[in-house]
Symmetry: D2
Subunit: 434 residues, 4 copies
C-alpha cells in the first residue's frame, strides 16, 4: 500500500479524533484531557513518550493560568476519568507530550511540532458545523477556534503512519505536542528542555490562515510576527462615587485611556506592526470609584526590532496613563515570540512536487500573525538545521478566533500527506513508494 | 430605667451584632445569612415578622444578581446552617424582612427603615479595625464598606427597645430591613408591597457621610441625588488580532471610549451632577479582537431633571461610541432613585433638643449621594406624611466605599438614642422618662 | 427733577452710546477706540481723567494679545481717527480709563467699576437684534457677547448724572473703566496701580447672567468662581505622514488627548468646579505629523481651594499627555481670578427698597462664573471697605458668549438708577429727592 | 561635448537656481514667484510656454487655498516685481507652467513632470544648510521641505539640455511644471487639460525618500499610496463656559475625539494604511464653549481598496464623534490620489546601464507615500504608454517634511543625467554620445 493509500485509509480516524478533541477544548497549560487523549492514542506504539516535567521545563513555562482556572480544568479531567498517574504527572500545568520514534538506522534527526491548546471563545451554537454535526465544545467559554484540534489529530496519525512504515525511514523523529501556543507561551518550555537541540530538520504548519481550496499546500511561510504579551495592572483608590468622587483615583479610566491611546502608536515605515488589548477587567461596583483595572494585551512586529518599537511605545503610554490618573501601574511580560524564516531551500524543493504529489503545492504565503514555533525554528536554524513551516489549505468562511471558525476536514489527510512527503524527501530509503 | 440608660445597656449587644453582621457581608438580594440573623434576633419578640415574598414584591425587585452570584451566596447560607424553611422562603433573591409592632393603642403609624446589604469590595487586611480586631468579612471580595452592618444592628436593637418600652408608646411601628440599597434597587420592591402606604411618619438615617464627632446627629439631610443605574453591553465581532484585525468589530474599544467620553458631559448650571462607570469587563483573550464588553454605570443629579439630563446625554454618548466602532449596544436600567426632602418641621423640632438630649444635634447636612430611601420618603410625603432622614456622626478616617472604611462603634447607641427620641417625640404617652 | 426723571431722560443717550460701542467691539488690551469713546464723552466734564500708564500698571497687565492682534486693532483705531495723542498714550495695550469726581465735600471714598472689552466671537448676522437694527459689530470675528458695551454706557451716563447732581453728593467717586475683564486679566493692573486703595465702598455689577424681567435688580451676587487661565504649548517633531510617521512626535494628538482627558477630573464634594479648553490650534499641514499645538484653557472653582484642586489636576494631566506622545509641554498662567463675597449688609439694605425704588429688588443670586472685579472687591474688603456686586435683570433669549447674545436695552436706565440709589444711600446729603 | 560633460557644466546653475527657488517657497496654487522664475529661465528658448488657464484646467484644481492666503502670496509676487502680464494670467491660483519642445522629427511623444510647490513648515534657522549657507526661505512659515525646489531646477536645466542637444533627439517633449503636488491637488488639473493624452512615455521622480549615496538612482518605485484628503468642520453652539456650560455644544471636543479615535482604525491584512490629522483649529476664546472646529486630514492605502477602507472607516468615526457631542459635521474632499505602477520594462532596461552610466542604478524601491504624479502615470498607462518614476539618491539626515530637511545638491546633476539617459534611450538618433 502506498503512503497515499495509507493516508486515505486514515481519513475516518483523523476526523473522529479531531472531533473528539474539539469537544474537550482546553486553554494553554490546562490541556489535561487533550494530553491524555494523545498519550492514549500512542501508548501502544513502539515510541517513547515523555510527559509532565519530562516534556516541558517547568520554570520556563510562560503565562500560566490562574490557580482557579487550572483547578477548574484539572477537576474536569478528574471527572472525565483521566488516568490518575498521568494526571498527577501533569498537575500544576505540566501539559503536553513528546513521542520519539527511533528507526534504528542512521539518518537525520527530525522534529515535528503540533500545538494542542484552545481559546477562551464561546463557540457559536448554530449555523456552525461542530454545533450542527454534534461535536461542539463541552467546555462553555472555550473553543478550538484556531484549528489546533486538527493539528493534534494530524500529529497523532502521522506518528502512526511513520510507525507503520518505519522500514522505509531512517534516523529519528521527535513528535512535539506543544501546549500553550496561544499567547506564545509554551514553545520556550520545550526549547529549554532541549528537544530542539541537534536537530537536522524541523517541520510544522497551520491549517487555514488563507482561504484556499482543500489540498493546496503552501510550501513555506513568510511574515512571522514577533510578539510580546503583557499583563498590566493599574491600582488606584476607591471612593464613594456620589459623595466624594474626588477622593478616588480611578484605575478604570486609566486603563480605558490606555486601551484607546495605545491605538495611536504610529505605523512604522519598516513594516507591519500590531497591537491588541484583548481583555480589560476593571472596577468593583457600580457606585464605587474603581480601584483596580487589569489589561491583557500584546504587541507584534514584522521584525524583532518592530516589535521592540511597539513594546517600548506601549510601555511609555501605559505609564503616562497611570500618571494621568494618579494611579500605580505594573507591567508584566507573560509571553514572547520571535520572528523567523521558513527554509527557502525546502520550499523550493516542495514547489517541484507538482507531478509526484496529489496535492497542489504553491509558493510561500504570509502568516501575518505570530507563531510560537518560531522559537523552535530559530533554535534549529542557529545550529544549522533547516526549518520549514507549511500552510494546509482549506476554505475559511470565518476567520481564525471567530466563534464560527471551522475548516473542511479534508485538510487533515492532505496535511498528513504533505508532512509525510516532506519526511520521506529527507529520510527515504530506496524503494519507498509515494 | 430611662431610655438613655436602657440604650447604654445595649451598647455591648449593638457592637457584637454589628461585628457578627460585618463578617457575613452579602451583596444586594443575596442577604440570606443577614436576613436570617435579623429574624433570629427578633423571632422571640411580640412582633409580627414578614419575609420572602411577604416582605418584598418579587416582580418589583430591580438589578438582580447573576444566577451564579445568587447560587454562591445561597450555598454559603446553606453551609452556615440557616434554617431551611426560612432559606426556602428567600430562595431566588427574596431577602429582607419586616417587623411590625402594634402597641394596641391608638396613635400614629410609623415606618423606620434600615438597609442591610454590603458591597463588592475586597476588605483591607491590615491597618483596618475589623481586620485588626478579628471580625473581617469572611466573604472574599465583599465588605460592609458603607455601614449597613451598623444600620442593621441599630434597627434590631431599636425593635427590642420599643418592645421593652411598649407601654410608653402608641400606634404601630413598621421596621423595614431593606435589601439591595446599593444601586437603588430594593426600596421599590418594599414600596410596591405597600409597606409605606398610610404612614404618618417615616424615619431613616445613615452612619457617617460627614466626618463628625461621635454623638453628633444631623437633624435632616439635603441634596439627595436622583440616580439611574444602567447596564450597558456592546457586541461586536471577534477576529484574530494578528492575522486579520480589520475583520473584527472591537467592543472593548467602544466601551473604553464610552468610559472616557462620558466624563465630558458638561456640568450643569442648575446643580450637582455625577456619573460613574463602576465596572467594565471586556474581551475574551489576549490575541482576539474583543467581541463583547459590559459596563455597569450610574448617573446622578441634584434634582430629577438633572439626573434626566445626565441619563439622556449618557445614552447619546453610548450610542455614538457603538456607532464609532460599528458595534451594537444595549442599555438596560437596573435601578432608579429619586431626589427627596427631609422634613424641615421635624428637623426644626430636633434642633431644639439641645438640653434634653445627651447628644449634639446640628442642622441639616448635604448627603451628596443617592439614597434608596428617597422612594419611601416620597411615597410617605405624597400621602401627607412626614419623612426625616438623619445622619449619625462618626469620625471617618476613610470615605465610604473605601477598602478601609470603618466607623467608631460609639455611633451605634447614639443613633439608637436619636431614633428613640424621635419616636417618643411623636408617640409618647405621659409619664415616659427621657 | 428727581434722579428717576433725570435717568429716564438719559435713556436715549444710553441706547445710542451702547450701540456705538457695540459696533467697535475690541478684545482685551485692544480697546483703543472704546477707550477713546469713553474719554470723548467725559472730556468736557469737571472730572479728572487718567489713561495709559496712569490708568493701568503696565507690568501688571496679564494675558496680553499677540503683537499681530495688537497692531491690527491699533491700526483700526488710527483709521477711525482716534486722537493721536491719546492713541500714543495707549500704545502697546495700555487701554482703559479712570475718571475721578471730587465733590469737594467730606464724605466716603467710593469706587465704581465698568468693564469695556469684547469677545472673539463672530456675531450672528440675522435673527439677532444688533444685526437687524443696524448696529452689528464692524470688527469681523469680535463681538460684545457679554454686555460690556452696556456696562460701559451705564458707567459713562452715571458719571454725567453724578456731575449734574454733585451738589447732592459728598466725598469722592472713582469711576474705573476696566480693560480685559474676559480672561481675568485687567483688574490686577488697576489694583496694582492703587485705584482700590483706601476705598470705603466699591460697586459693580453685570447685565443678565439670569433670565429676569427688565427692572429686576439682584441685591448681591454669590458663587464668584476663582479661576486660572492657562496657555499650554506642546512641542513635538514633524515628519512625513505617509513615508515615515513613526519618525514624528505628534503634538496635535497630545493636545487633543489633553482636551478630552481634562474633562475627566472628578467633580468635588466641596462645590462647583469648571474647566474649559476654549481654543486648540495644532499642526502645520495635512500630510505632516504635527509639530506644535497650542491650547487656551481655564479652570474654575467655587472657592480658591477648589480652583487650586482643578489647576493641580489639570497640570498633571497635561504633563502626562505630553509624556504619552513623547512631546514637550509648557504651561503659562495668563490670568487669575479669586472668589469673593458681595456685601451682605449692602444687600440687606437694598432689599428694603421695595417701596422707594421703581424697580424690583430681589435677594442675591449666584454668578456661577468668574469676575475679574473679585480682585478689586477683595482689595477693598481687606481694608475694611464694603463691596457689592449687583445683577441687572433682562430677559436672555440666548446665553452669554453666544453669537446671538443680546439684552433688552431697558436694562440700561434700570442699572443706572440702581447704582444711583446705591450711591445716594451712602453719600446723600439732606434734601436729595429720589 | 558629451551629455555627461554638458550636465557637469550645469552643476553651478542647478545649485544657484535651486537656492533661488528655496528662498521663495510658496504653497500649492500660490506658486506665483516660482512659476515666474521658471518662465523667466525658459522664455528665450525655442520652446512653447503655456501658463495660467492654458496650463491648468481651472475647474479641476482641487484644494484651493483660502482667499487670504492666495492674496498674501499674490501681493508678495507683486512686491517682488513679477511681470504684471504673467501675474494677471495666473491670478486666482492658476499657477504652474508647461514647456513643449518639438524636435521637428518623427518620434515618440514624451511627458516629463516636475512639481514646484512648498510646504507650510517653519524652516529651522540654525544647524541647517539653507540657513547656514544663506539661502533660507524668505516666507515665514513656508519651506521647501520635500525637495520640490530641486525638482524644479532639474526640470529647467533638463529643458535647456534638450534644447542644446535637440539634433540628437526625436519626437516631442512636454515638460510639466506642476503646482500643488502636496495634498494631491494639482495633477488632476493638468490631466484634465489634456497634457497627458496620447503620450508614449512619462518620466518623473523624486529626490530622497530613501537615505542613499548621491549618484544612486532607483530604476522605479513601488508602493504608491492611494490617498484621500478631507476637510472636516464640526459646528456646535457656543456658551459661557463658567455660567452655563451645558448650554453649549462643544465642537472642539468632537474634533479632538475624532483626532484620537481615528487612530484606532485597525490595520488591514491586505497592506499598508495611513491616516493623519495634520491640522486642527478649534474654538473662539478661552471662556467660551467652542462652537466650531476644523480638521485637515488624509487617509492612505497601498491599494485604492485599502484607501477606500480607510476613508469609509474615517467617515463613520467622524460622524459618530459629531453625534457624541450633539454637533453637526461636514466632510469635504479636497484631494484624491491613486495608486499606480512604475513601468517594470523601463526599470529592467535601466538596471542594465551599469557600465554605460556614471551613476549606480539600483532596483525599484518603495515610496511609501502618495504621489500626485500617479494620476498622470495612470492616464498614460491606460492609453498603453509607459510611465516610470525614479528616485534620485541623496543622504537624508532628516526626513521629508522635517524643519531641517535638506539634501546633497550633488543629487541635482545626477538626476538630470538619469533623465537625460532615459530620454535618449527612447528618443536617441544614431550618433548621440552618452
Amino acid at each position: 500500500m502506498s503512503w497515499s493509500d495509507a493516508i486515505a485509509a486514515k481519513t475516518e480516524q483523523l476526523t473522529a479524533l479531531r472531533r473528539k478533541l474539539h469537544q474537550i477544548a482546553e486553554p494553554g497549560w490546562c490541556e489535561y484531557q487533550t494530553t491524555a487523549a494523545i498519550v492514549s492514542e500512542l501508548s501502544e506504539l513502539p515510541v517513547t513518550i515523555y510527559t509532565g516535567t519530562d516534556a516541558v521545563e517547568s520554570s520556563a513555562r510562560m503565562g500560566l493560568p490562574s490557580a482557579e482556572e487550572d483547578a477548574y480544568f484539572f477537576q474536569l479531567a478528574e471527572k472525565a476519568a483521566v488516568e490518575p498517574a498521568l494526571l498527577e504527572r501533569m498537575q500544576g500545568g505540566h501539559t503536553g507530550a513528546v513521542a520519539v520514534l527511533d528507526t534504528g538506522k542512521p539518518g537525520p534527526d527530525t522534529a515535528l511540532r503540533f500545538d494542542i491548546d484552545a481559546l477562551p471563545i464561546t463557540e457559536a451554537s448554530s449555523d456552525h458545523v461542530p454545533a450542527d454535526a454534534g461535536f461542539p465544545s463541552k467546555h462553555e467559554g472555550f473553543m478550538h477556534a484556531c484549528g489546533h484540534d486538527g493539528h493534534t489529530a494530524i500529529g497523532v496519525e502521522l506518528v502512526k503512519l511513520c510507525v507503520e512504515n518505519v522500514d522505509q525511514l531512517t534516523g529519528t523523529f521527535t513528535f512535539l505536542f506543544q501546549p500553550a501556543e496561544e499567547g506564545s507561551r509554551g514553545a520556550y518550555a520545550m526549547v529549554k528542555k532541549g528537544w530542539l537541540d541537534g536537530k537536522d530538520y524541523f517541520f510544522s504548519g497551520h491549517i487555514g490562515i488563507h482561504d484556499l481550496e482543500v489540498g493546496t499546500i503552501a510550501c513555506g511561510t513568510e511574515r512571522f510576527l514577533a510578539t510580546t504579551k503583557l499583563d498590566v495592572t493599574f491600582t488606584g483608590v476607591s471612593a464613594h462615587a456620589g459623595v466624594d468622587p474626588a477622593a478616588g483615583k480611578n484605575a478604570l479610566l486609566a486603563a480605558a485611556s490606555a486601551a484607546i491611546q495605545l491605538q495611536a502608536i504610529p505605523p512604522h515605515r519598516d513594516g507591519i506592526t500590531r497591537l491588541n488589548v484583548g481583555k480589560l477587567t476593571a472596577g468593583e461596583g457600580r457606585n464605587i470609584i474603581p480601584e483596580r483595572a487589569d489589561i491583557m494585551m500584546e504587541t507584534r512586529g514584522e521584525t524583532n526590532e518592530l516589535n521592540a518599537y511597539m513594546e517600548e511605545e506601549a510601555r511609555r503610554i501605559l505609564t503616562a496613563c497611570a500618571d494621568m490618573y494618579g494611579v500605580e501601574v505594573s507591567i508584566d511580560v507573560t509571553g514572547r515570540g520571535s520572528t523567523t524564516e521558513s527554509s527557502k531551500a525546502i520550499g523550493a524543493k516542495l514547489s517541484t512536487w507538482g507531478e509526484q504529489f496529489t496535492k497542489r503545492v504553491i509558493g510561500p504565503l504570509p502568516l501575518g500573525g505570530s507563531e510560537d514555533a518560531a522559537l523552535m525554528m530559530n533554535r534549529v536554524r542557529e545550529q544549522n538545521g533547516e526549518a520549514a513551516y507549511l500552510l494546509y489549505g482549506t476554505p475559511l468562511p470565518y476567520g481564525h478566533h471567530h466563534p464560527k471558525f471551522t475548516f473542511d476536514e479534508g485538510v487533515l489527510p492532505a496535511a498528513v500527506e504533505a508532512l509525510a512527503q516532506l519526511i520521506t524527501t529527507y529520510h527515504e530509503k530506496e524503494g519507498m513508494s509515494r
